[in-house]
């Protein structure tokens, strides 16, 4: 399996994805400071009524940044799944993939695992780095003066990130499967953005309401479970389909 994953890396150029991750990291960092600062500067009635004031609170800042991160990496994982899977099994390209004496299911699994690992690691790194940078500067010279940044707020943000990463795997794979029906890359990307925005909103709504950590954990478990189930189901079903696929 490791060897198959290495071969995938060898023939697909992943530098573009790494560059995109670095860019996402910079965007998230800028975004966090942007919402923190505008919430301070703006003081008009409209702004306050529109809820802008919410961003004078650290957990809300992290929550919004978390949703943005999920949408960005959701889109990126969709592009990667499209390239690695839909692209490789569409039209004449499939003839190449199917000419190797290696089980088609194993090759598919290697591709899925590789994309999952790359997108998860980039999401964790490129989201937690802005968080940490923001945490450090806020401890030295805070922008948000109405709230205090405790370790537990930051830890919560990282925990949410952990759950989001699992969700990302499910979102990427489900969107890819939807796109596979018509072998359409735009379908994958749009599905991924819709799914991740939907998921991000649900998650943040749930977290907002469930203050107690017990139900918070339960929600995370349910979300993680649904993601895992979707992933396993799609993998098994797609693997069967690809095994029988013909190159016309």
């Amino acid at each position: 399996m490791l060897k198959l994953m290495k071969l995938e890396l060898k023939r697909n150029n992943i530098r573009a994805y790494l560059a995109a991750s670095a860019l996402a990291c910079a965007i998230l960092l800028g975004f966090i400071y942007f919402i923190a600062c505008t919430a301070q500067i703006e003081n008009t009635e409209e702004f306050v009524n529109a809820g802008g004031i919410a961003f004078r609170n650290y957990s809300n800042i992290f929550r919004l940044a978390g949703i943005l991160s999920l949408v960005i990496f959701g889109a990126m994982s969709a592009v990667m799944y499209s390239r690695f899977i839909i692209g490789e099994y569409t039209g004449k390209r499939a003839a190449l993939a199917f000419s190797y004496p290696v089980s088609r299911s194993k090759v598919l699994l290697a591709k899925l695992l590789l994309v999952f690992i790359i997108t998860s690691v980039s999401m964790v790194v490129c989201t937690s780095v802005p968080y940490i940078v923001f945490y450090i500067t806020e401890s030295i010279s805070p922008i948000v003066i109405q709230d205090t940044l405790t370790v537990s707020v930051a830890a919560d943000a990282l925990k949410t990130l952990g759950v989001s990463v699992l969700a990302l795997g499910g979102i990427g794979i489900v969107s890819m499967r939807l796109g596979f029906i018509k072998k359409s890359v735009p379908t994958v990307i749009i599905s991924a953005i819709i799914l991740s925005a939907f998921y991000g909103n649900t998650l943040s709504a749930l977290y907002a309401r469930t203050a107690t950590s017990a139900s918070g954990v339960l929600t995370s478990l349910i979300i993680g479970g649904v993601g895992l189930f979707a992933t396993v189901f799609v993998m098994a079903e797609l693997s069967k389909k690809i095994n029988k696929m013909e190159v016309e």
């Binding site: 004449k92 000419s99 004496p101 290696v102 029988k244």
Partner: protein, 250 residues
Amino acid sequence: MSSTTAVQITNLTKKFRDTTVIKDSNMTVPKGCVYGFLGANGAGKTTIFKMLTGLLSPTSGTAMVLGLDVTKEREKVLRGIGSLIEAPVFYEHLSAAENLELHLDYMGTKGFGTGVALDMVGLAGTGKKPVGKFSLGMRQRLGIARAFIHRPQVLILDEPINGLDPMGIRDMRNLFLSLIQKHGMTILLSSHILSEIEHTADMVGVIVNGTVVCELYLDEIKGQSGIRLEDYFFNIMSGEGMNYAKANEA
């Protein structure tokens, strides 16, 4: 299927939705020969080759390669064959050598090695140039290299001389000969160009409208006086084929 047979298809039929493209075809390719598969455009050559390489599944009948059923033991068959079907697909951003190395990695063997293989098809000087920038003929040569580099026992080449210049055609002819004589391969190649088959093949199979109508050794016809090869095949391929072939067999 005897151990001296490289490829055998039996009562093979392939339907695409409602249309029957291959009808009840039989074919036997002995080991160690060049088998030329002759047929007009749309006759079904590519479709049969795809069934031999596991890209399509037969609707009925069997395709056996090296004694193995392609549908049931696809991976084993793929290990023993090399193929070039229609226009070859490559990783366009990689060089010729990198494409071949990847292929060898997947095949799990060092085969001839990329340097030797590229030299054998006249692509030794392409260096780091990405395949995306190759000409049609260069792609075809690389496709042929990829088909034999892992030292398969059977080579399945669909219109291998497509896009090659006259020198390239002659070079490939010599290459095929050496693969058979020095490396013990069997070559099954398709073409709609009669003169090409005439120059390279030991044996010919003719397919008309999805059915293999006759199989014979070229020497048999060449030996018969008074028949021009061209007329002979032209008659078979243009429909009255079967009767003509039978009349001559008798």
